[in-house]
């Protein structure tokens, strides 16, 4: 049950990939029905697995392994593990993937590489499910890189555009930087514990074994593993790849760069949570907080609809990472789940808008207007009602307005950070948390208003916009429904009484006692005591954010330009994304260009120079020895010399250079030396 079923779930998308890559173009409708059908089946199986798991084995973690390879006397096994975390994540991944498959049928219609696109979606889903299902950190790394390559292929789907292939390269290479750290972390763990499986690693740690016998190395291992998450979940300082990744088709952004793959980093931290020391967790919390803040401050000034959403994704991922860091494990993971639904919805909604804009611009033969720039939009509400109303629900959810799923999870995160600061005094974390909540509400309503409300900039064009086909709007509606509270908890003002909280419990820390984070009961008590306050505050701040956005963009009481001018440096910093790209370009890209050119020069002139120089010296030497040869030795070994000359003659038939002759001399003089030596 817990071996065959997960394996089937894992392999069905791979099957879709293989079938489509080989036969896609020959199948009717290029096989989109096959891909979507197999994915739907995967979703149904995952749902069944989740329900079965929660009902029949609620508290257990079931894993099965098989041997992969034996090296020396060590057996390395691979296997799958189903616990509640994995079961929930399975449903999240397969659900979003299925909806994106259907949505893509509309959005990608008439694409040049339609079947290739669906094939890559299958490859991605397979790899992502692998991350979810594995019981083993090495296998996780394997799938980790495989999602990276599928992301690379999908970002670069329109590879004729240089910007698309650049973005694909950037995404992969920046992720490799994070993976480098993760790989070192994995090596440390394997070297210390001789195993890759999570359970065995945790057991060894709880038995008092430490990497290289030092507590510092355990913290280091945790932070290094977390580096993988920094890359994949686009955390500061490796967040720069995600906004560029928006070059990919929008449904891909929804699936990979909003709901699932970027959340894999959060999943990874949740997986290895028991081995993280308090120090490692503190680093994680601060990285998450910094990320959340930086991304939110950038999002408020962007005009590209997908870029705003990309930065908002980074910011929300920062929330999740921060939550895990402070020990609000369930809240962090819950935010992953709720975010997957509403952010996938936002991206698909944006896709629907872009789709409509494209069609309208196409009708007008306008190829210059940017279909993604919200300054060209406005007034789309009446043209695309289904898209608008669902978009509104998603916006409410991400802003943390009560009755939505986002409110539930975000509220728990904020309470968690507040509780953490009452225990440890790190007050910066809740401060950033609440500030970002306000910023989020502001920029999301700014986006909503500029896109859908108000008067259109170009009436004629907007009149050409029509609502997207059902195959695109129905996924939006499903996701909108999933953005409401009752799927996660029947109490709209507290998640902790719902099924989610009882299914996903924070695992016990396995690290030595002195290095553990605050124990769960202590933490829980602190959360309970600040919860009401945190909730009230978060509602107030979110409300203030919404009001600000309405005042500036809807009612135009305050001029946005005035605000921008008054903000001065802050505004230009935000518009320019705090210059991360420029700095990285100067330091790393140009730096490696300088290094590579230097090394090339060194190789061609110094090393090869020595080689060629020594050849010249040999040439001189051989001429001298040749002179000795002809004048002194020749008489002694006449016969041999003439043979050598004949060989030389043969060689010179082919090439007329004198080098052959000297080669023969070199060989010959060595032979003479040997005779003397012996």
């Amino acid at each position: 049950m817990f071996t065959q079923l997960p394996l089937t779930i894992l392999l069905l998308p791979l099957l879709a990939f293989i079938l489509l890559i080989f036969f896609g173009k020959r199948l009717p409708r290029q096989g989109d029905w096959l891909a979507a059908g197999l994915m739907t089946l995967t979703l149904l199986l995952s749902l069944f697995l989740l329900l079965f798991k929660l009902n029949a084995y609620p508290g257990e973690s079931i894993s099965s392994s098989f041997d992969w390879v034996v090296v020396g006397s060590q057996t390395i096994g691979f296997g799958i593990m189903i616990d509640n975390l994995a079961a929930v994540m399975l449903v999240v991944v397969t659900l979003v993937s299925t909806l994106v498959h259907y949505f893509s049928m509309g959005y990608m219609k008439d694409d040049v590489r339609y079947s290739r696109y669906f094939a890559y979606l299958g490859l991605f889903s397979f790899s992502m499910l692998g991350i979810v299902l594995t019981n083993n950190i090495l296998l996780m790394y394997v799938f980790w890189e495989l999602v990276g390559i599928s992301s690379y292929l999908l970002i670069g789907h329109w590879y004729e555009k240089k910007s698309a292939s650049n973005a694909a390269n950037k995404a992969f290479i920046v992720n490799r930087v994070g993976d480098f750290g993760m790989f070192i972390g994995i090596m440390i763990l394997f070297l210390s514990f001789s195993t890759f499986t999570f359970e065995a690693i945790f057991e060894s740690i709880s038995a008092g074994q430490l990497p290289f016998g030092s507590e510092g190395w355990l913290t280091a291992a945790g932070i290094l593993i977390f580096c993988g998450a920094v890359g994949k979940s686009a955390q500061f300082p490796l967040h720069v790849w995600l906004p560029d990744a928006m070059e990919g088709p929008t449904p891909v952004s929804a699936l990979i760069h909003a709901a699932t793959m970027v959340a894999a980093g959060v999943y990874l931290v949740a997986r290895v949570f028991p081995m993280l020391t308090a120090d490692a967790l503190l680093v994680i919390a601060y990285i998450g907080a910094i990320t959340a803040l930086i991304a939110a401050t950038i999002a408020i000034t962007q005009f590209d609809i997908k870029k705003v959403l990309a930065y908002s994704t980074i910011s929300q991922l920062g929330y999740m990472i921060m939550a895990l860091g402070v020990g609000a494990y369930t809240a962090g993971f819950m935010h992953l789940v709720t975010h997957a639904a509403f952010k996938a919805g936002l991206f698909l909604g944006a896709g629907s808008v872009i789709f409509g804009m494209h069609a309208a611009l196409h009708k007008l033969h306008d190829h210059d207007t940017d279909a993604q720039d919200i300054r060209n939009m406005g007034g789309l509400k009446s043209r695309m009602p289904a898209t608008y109303w669902t978009f509104l629900i998603f916006t409410l959810a991400i802003s943390g307005i009560p009755l939505t799923s986002g409110f539930l999870s975000k509220d728990e995160i904020l309470a968690g950070t507040l509780a953490f600061s009452t225990l440890n005094g790190h007050w910066l974390l809740p401060l950033i948390g609440f500030l970002v909540a306000g910023l989020t509400a502001f920029y999301m309503f700014r986006l909503l208003i500029l896109t859908f409300h108000g008067k259109p900039v170009n009436e004629k064009m907007i009149e050409g916009v029509t609502e997207s086909p059902k195959v695109m709007t129905i996924p939006l509606m499903i996701l909108a429904a999933l953005s409401l509270f009752f799927f996660y908890s029947f109490n709209p003002f507290g998640a902790s009484s719902g099924w989610f909280y009882s299914a996903i419990e924070r695992p016990l820390s396995m690290v030595p006692e002195l290095m553990q984070p605050a124990a769960y009961p202590v933490f829980y008590e602190a959360v309970s005591s600040v919860h009401s306050f945190a909730m009230l505050l978060s509602i107030l701040i979110a409300g203030a954010g919404v009001l600000m956005a309405l005042a500036v963009y809807q009612w135009k009481k305050v001029s946005a330009d005035d605000l921008a001018k008054r903000a001065g440096v802050l505004y230009s910093g935000s518009v320019n994304k705090w210059y991360f790209d420029e700095i990285y370009d100067t330091v790393f890209v140009n730096g490696s260009h300088v290094i590579m050119k230097m090394l090339r020069w060194f190789d061609e002139n110094i090393i090869d120079g020595i080689v060629n120089g020594s050849a010249v010296i040999t040439l001189i030497f051989s001429k001298v020895s040749g002179w000795i040869d002809t004048n002194i030795v020749d008489g002694l070994v006449n016969g041999t010399a003439s043979t050598a000359n004949k060989a030389g003659g043969l060689l010179s038939h082919i090439q007329t250079g004198k080098v052959q002759t000297y080669l023969v001399y070199v060989i010959f003089s060595f032979l003479v030396l040997f005779v003397l030596f012996l």
Binding site: Y152, E160, S165, F180, M187, S592, L663
Partner: protein, 528 residues
Amino acid sequence: MELQFFGIGILTWIVFIPIAGMIIVLLLPDKNRNAIRWTAVIATGIQVILAGVIFAVFDRTKLGINDAESFQFIEKFSWITVEAVPWVGRIEISYFLGIDGLSVLMIILTSLISFIGVISSWSIDKMVKGYYALYLLLVTGMMGVFVALDFFLFFIFWEIMLLPMYFLIGLWGGPRREYAAIKFFLYTFVGGILMLLTMLALYFSVAYTDPATGQSVHTFNILHMMNPANYVDGGLLSGVDTTWRYVAWMALFINFAIKIPLFPFHTWLPDAHVEAPTPISVILAGVLLKLGTYGLLRINFPIFPDGTIYFMYFMAILGMISIIYGAFCAMAQDDFKKLIAYSSISHMGIVVLGIAALNTQGMVGGVLQMFNHGIITAVLFLAVGVLYDRTHKRGLNDFGGIANQMPKYTGLAMIGMFAALGLPGLNGFVSELFSFLGAFEAYKWITIISVTGIIITAGYILWTIQRVFLGKTPEKLNNLTDLTPRELLMFIPLIVLIIFLGIYPSPAIELMNSSLSYLVEVVTNGGF
């Protein structure tokens, strides 16, 4: 284990079948090109079949390395015996072949790559007869090195490779072929001299007592050289940790490092590759480079365990430099072939780092990386060759948008590229993983610095893919045709191996696990 056909051992067959092919080629009329080509196909094809037989019946539990009893398919008889030479006594050179877990994978690699090289040689139409004759001679030389257990025989096979390689580059190569060929020749020649000197020094230092006559006999037997008890009193290389032993280790190491090639002995490789015709590049990168690391493992490690341990950091550091330096230099290239040449330096650096760890993981990773790199780099050179045949260009900036023109080709070439980048699920990852795991146990910081190579590698591989395959197709590339069936035939076996061994490397690792574990033991115990 023994296996004979018509009274002749399987190893003799697999080594000398190409010579038989060469003789037939030489007898065939010049004009009958297809007969010549098919002769080569059949000769190397038989090799592949024999390698398959060896793979099937090879005993995975036997150790080999320094134990003559546990070598497999042994063939041994006296070849040159000179009684009573003054000062020296009896000279004995034997025809001694045998394989163990260290060599078996290399034999499979050599036969496979040689066969694919023949298929890709189809497009060569200049002096076909001479080309195939030399090609087959080269194959015999390579195969011979991997099965020889007598140092003299090893040396002869080693030198046999030199000449055909020189001519194959010098006659069938590109515009600067003469420079490249001579450079290749000189480099390897200098190495050969060093090996010859060391071999002689070993010969005079090692003697075993002939059980039949009770006579003390000097020998070229490599296995006898591994036994400290066989060293004569007062011999140049007798004792442990003596200066002369270190010198001898270093002389051999330089010879092998040139072949690998390891920084700073590598500059012959880019030139040779750029000028060599495609099939020769494939052979060169696919098999020839492995002779270097094979030599280290077959000769340096077990004969000089003291030197190996003394110089292990030195090897690891050179491996590290090669990894990083090769990767950066690869990134700086505009020539597709040069880029792959430098990437070979980088990837062979991983082999050296792995084996320098002197533990089983590193050793297994290193030897597997030899095999995997052979396969992957063959794909990459074939890929360049396919483009070169069509456009007569190799510059990375001459291409673009090939993906639209040649989708099948792009798919296969990109799998090769991803394997070179160490993508999990493809074979390169597995061997890099174990090499690094092993190395990390021995050298923490050297390994951490080396692992940064995977970032640089991702950089140059993806940049190459972008420049060659992606983007808009320039007008001049608009009528490219996709792969022909013959070209597909040369890619597919390699691609299948890349994927299969990436997912399930056990069949390859099982072959060598016992032998390499034993080799580690032999080296770390100082030869006992």
